[in-house]
Symmetry: C2
Subunit: 343 residues, 2 copies
DNA sequence: CTGAAAGCGCTTACAG
DNA sequence: CTGAAAGCGCTTACAG
C-alpha cells in the first residue's frame, strides 16, 4: 500500500501553498485562473483525495449522522426508515453510522457512547429504549431526533398518526359490512411509553367501533408480547375458536402474517372466510393474498428525521430552544385480504 | 452546547501531562498508582470522553468498516448480512458506515469515494456491481471483501455454496416423489458474473434431476429479470398452465412468495396441489404456509466478511499477498410447503 | 490573489 | 515513572 497524497503534496506539485489548494478544492476565496489550473492538474496527477477525517477535526463537524435503531431485520419498518435517513443524508453530503440495538438498553448505551466519541453531528433514535440514553446524547450537546416512540425526554421527534391509521382500517372493514372485528396488538413497549403506539391504535379501533354503534367484546381484543409471528398465530387461533369474528385488524404486518398462517392452517381462506388488515406495509405485499394494510411512510419518516437532524446540527444554538415534532400521516393500502361480508 | 473537555483539560485538572492521561486511558506504559488515581478522578469529574476523530487521524486507523450493499430492504438477505457485519465489528471495537447502492453503479462509486475519503479501514461489498469500483478501493490501498457475487477483480471474498444448496432442495423434492419440478430463477446479474449465482443454482438443479433419471423439459425452466414478486407470479402462472408440474424450486424467497400468490389466486393449496421450495430463508418463515427453503447463513456471512476485513486492515502488508476466500454452507430448512406427491 | 502559521485533539518516540 | 514536543492532514484568520 502506497502512501496517500496529502494537500501538501498537491501544493508542492503545483508550487503553491496548501491554502490555495484548499481554496480551489472548496471553490471559495480568490484564486487566479492560472493557479486554479495548476492545482487541478496537480490533483489529477496525484490522484489526491481530501482526508475527511482531518477536515472534520478541524471544522468540528463530521457530517455524520448516527442512526441508532431497533433492528433492520426482520421488521422491515426499521430498514425502511434507515433507507430514508441514508438518502437524505447522502443528498446533503452526510454519511450514516448504523447501530442496531435489538431492544437491549446496554447495547443502546454503547451505541450512544460510540457515537459521542466519534463526534457524530446528530443522533437519530429509531425507537429509543432508555430515556437516560437519549438524555446522555443531549447532555453531550448532540442534536437528537426520536422517531415513532419518543421517550419522555424532550427532543426533536418524528411521529406517525397511529390513531387515524387505525381508524381508517376499522372504517374500511365496517364499510364492508363487518361488525365482529378482532384486534391484535403487540407493542413491546405498550403502556410503558405514554401513550404507547398500540394504545393509540387501540383507541382508534375502539372509537371507530363505538362511533358505528358496535360495542367491541372483551374477547375481540388481544395483545401479544411482541410483534411476532407466534403471537399473531396464537391470538388468531383464539379468535377462530370464538366463532363470531369475521374480520381482524392487526397492528403490525408481522402479527398479521402470523394470523394468516393460523387461518391457512385451519383450511380457511382470506378474505372469503375472514378479512384481515395489517399495519406498516412491510410484509403485506409479499403475503398470500397480498394484505390490505395501514401504510407507514417509512422512507419519508427517515427523510424527515434526517432533515431535522441535519438542520439541528447546523444551528446548534437553537437547540433545544425550538423543538420540532413532525407528525406524518398514514394511509390505507387496500389489497386482496379484505372483502364484503357475505351472509 | 458547552465545549467538550479534551485530554488537555483532564491533564490540567489532574496536574499531569496529556501523555500520562493517554497512558491511563489506554492502560499501557508505566503510571504510578497515585497518578492513575488522579487521572481517573479528573476524567470522572470532567466527564471526559476520548475524541475518536483525533485518535484516528493520529493513528491512521479509523476502526471503521464501510459496508456497501445492494439494499437492506426489501431483500432481507442484505439486512441479515449487515447485522452480522455490525456484530463482528462492534465486538472488535469497530463501527460500520452503511451505504445502500440500489444496484446503481454510480451510487456504488459515490459510496466507494466517500469511504476512501473517510479513511475507512476496510470495505465490504455485499454484492459489488462494477468491477472498477471494487478496483478503485483496492487501488486506494483499502482491504476489500466481496460477498456472494465477487467480480473478476481479485480480493478477499465470502461466498456461499449455491450448487449444493440447490442440490439439497431438488433432492428433497425428488425424495418426496416429485418428478416434474419447475425452476424459477431471477439473478439480476445472471450470466454477467462468472459463474453467476443462479447459474450455480441451475446447475445444481439440472445435475440432480439428471442424476435421478429425470430429463428436465425446457418449459420447466424460467428466469425472471429480477428477484421480484412479479416475476415469481408470472412464471408460476405459466407453470400452472403447463399442467404437469407438481413442485417448484425458486432461487429466492421473494420469487417463491410471488409464485405462492399465483397459486393462491388460482385457488390451489401448497403443498397439497403443488410443493414449493425457496432460497435464502428470508421471507420463507412469514408466508402461508411457512416455506421450505434453502437457508443462507446471512448472519455468519456478515461475521465472516467483517472478520476478514478487520484482519486484513490490521496487517495490510499481507495484502493482496494472500487472498482469503471463504465458502459457507447452505442447508435445507424443511417447513410446511413441501409434501409427498399424492397420486 | 497568495502564503505562513496556528491549531483542531490526539499519540508516541525520546529524553530525563 | 513523567513530560515536552512533533506531527497526523486539514482550515482559516491574518498579513501582505
Amino acid at each position: 500500500m502506497r502512501k496517500r497524497f496529502t494537500m501538501k503534496d498537491v501544493a508542492n506539485v503545483a508550487h503553491l501553498s496548501t491554502a490555495t489548494v484548499a481554496r480551489v478544492l472548496h471553490g471559495q476565496g480568490f484564486v487566479s485562473e492560472k493557479s486554479r489550473k495548476r492545482v487541478l492538474e496537480a490533483i489529477e496527477k496525484t490522484g489526491y483525495r481530501l482526508n475527511t477525517l482531518a477536515q472534520s477535526l478541524r471544522r468540528n463537524q463530521t457530517k455524520t449522522i448516527g442512526h441508532l435503531l431497533t433492528s433492520i431485520s426482520p421488521n422491515l419498518f426499521f430498514a425502511g426508515v434507515e433507507l430514508g435517513v441514508e438518502n437524505e443524508a447522502i443528498k446533503n453530503g452526510y454519511s450514516v453510522l448504523i447501530w442496531n440495538d435489538f431492544e437491549d438498553p446496554k447495547r443502546e448505551r454503547l451505541g450512544v457512547e460510540t457515537f459521542i466519541q466519534r463526534q457524530v453531528d446528530a443522533i437519530i433514535f429509531t425507537t429509543p429504549i432508555e430515556p437516560q440514553n437519549v438524555y446522555a446524547a443531549i447532555e453531550a450537546g448532540i442534536p437528537v431526533v426520536q422517531v415513532e416512540r419518543p421517550t419522555e425526554v424532550k427532543s426533536h421527534a418524528v411521529i406517525v398518526d397511529n390513531y387515524t391509521g387505525s381508524t381508517l382500517a376499522v372504517e374500511h372493514l365496517i364499510g364492508l359490512g363487518h361488525q365482529c372485528i378482532g384486534f391484535i396488538g403487540g407493542d413491546p413497549r405498550a403502556f410503558l411509553t405514554s401513550p404507547s403506539v398500540d394504545e393509540q391504535r387501540l383507541a382508534g379501533y375502539r372509537d371507530t367501533m363505538i362511533k358505528n354503534g358496535i360495542m367491541p367484546k372483551e374477547e375481540w381484543l388481544a395483545f401479544g408480547k411482541y410483534y411476532s409471528l407466534e403471537d399473531g398465530y396464537r391470538i388468531m387461533e383464539q379468535f377462530l375458536k370464538l366463532g363470531d369474528i369475521t374480520a381482524v385488524f392487526a397492528t403490525c404486518d408481522i402479527l398479521a402474517a402470523g394470523a394468516l398462517q393460523a387461518i391457512y392452517q385451519h383450511n380457511l381462506r382470506v378474505p372469503e372466510d375472514v378479512s384481515l388488515v395489517g399495519f406498516d406495509n412491510t410484509y403485506a405485499p409479499y403475503l398470500s393474498p397480498p394484505l390490505t394494510t395501514v401504510e407507514q411512510p417509512m422512507f419519508e419518516i427517515g427523510i424527515t428525521a434526517a432533515r431535522i437532524a441535519i438542520e439541528a446540527s447546523i444551528k446548534k444554538s437553537d437547540f433545544p430552544g425550538t423543538l420540532k415534532v413532525e407528525s406524518l400521516a398514514t394511509r390505507l393500502k387496500v389489497r386482496a385480504s379484505t372483502s364484503a361480508l357475505s351472509f
